[in-house]
Symmetry: C2
Subunit: 110 residues, 2 copies
DNA sequence: TTGACATGTGACCAAATGGTCACCTATCGT
DNA sequence: ACGATAGGTGACCATTTGGTCACATGTCAA
């Protein structure tokens, strides 16, 4: 089994950029796209996309594979699942709605 | 009902900093803390903490309320729940394990 | 084999970010 | 009233980040 113990911080930082989230969405829609294919999805030169893909790869959110002169990119949802399980779920539990009530009350308090 | 249509991007960006996640954790552990109380939780001056709290407030992750000369800070989990429902869950679904298999196979391919 | 195509590298730049500080206002307790 | 306490503002600085470009390598197809 490959090790998924990459830094949680890297994943959060990788997800913080809207372009990178768009790239993930593009791979979600169609996995295994090349750099030039992804380039067309986003208002940016090839070089910008390359940098973003590098960040995504280092965070483990994207894995790639070379086929001839092309580089195919694949979405890896595991890090997202990890931060979901270890972090997001803690705050997104059902009882959140109770806190929502509290917040509403507080904001209505003069 | 208060409007929760804040920008998703702001939430992701707010969550991208480890100090800010620590502050959220601190509020998760004990809600309604003052600035000086939170200051002690983090290796940073008061001013740095103020900036981080401002980012968290603007993202809607923290709401505050003044009590005399103090400012009380409260965690608002709703934005996290929103990005969970609208974004994270899409990638963190059960079938993610199937993709994990695929990724492993790809990485093992020479 | 040669030209077009897909990707990679390093330098470079502007803007955003994270953090500190001097100074200021407001409120509390006595 | 007065010192101490809690918080706020704006300037300032170093570093990181997002993006581009010139140039270079590897690969395909005729």
């Amino acid at each position: 089994m490959v090790t998924y113990r990459r830094d949680v911080d890297e994943v959060f930082k990788a997800l913080a950029d809207p372009t990178r989230r768009e790239l993930l969405d593009a791979l979600f829609a169609q996995d295994g796209q090349t750099l030039t294919a992804l380039e067309e999805r986003v208002p940016m030169t090839r070089f910008g996309v390359m940098k973003h893909l590098k960040v995504l790869e280092e965070a483990g959110l994207v894995v790639s594979r070379k086929r001839g002169r092309e580089k195919l990119h694949f979405l890896n949802p595991v890090p997202i699942r990890l931060i979901h399980d270890r972090w997001v779920s803690k705050y997104a539990e059902p009882w959140a709605s109770a806190l929502t009530e509290l917040k509403t009350q507080l904001e209505d308090t003069p």
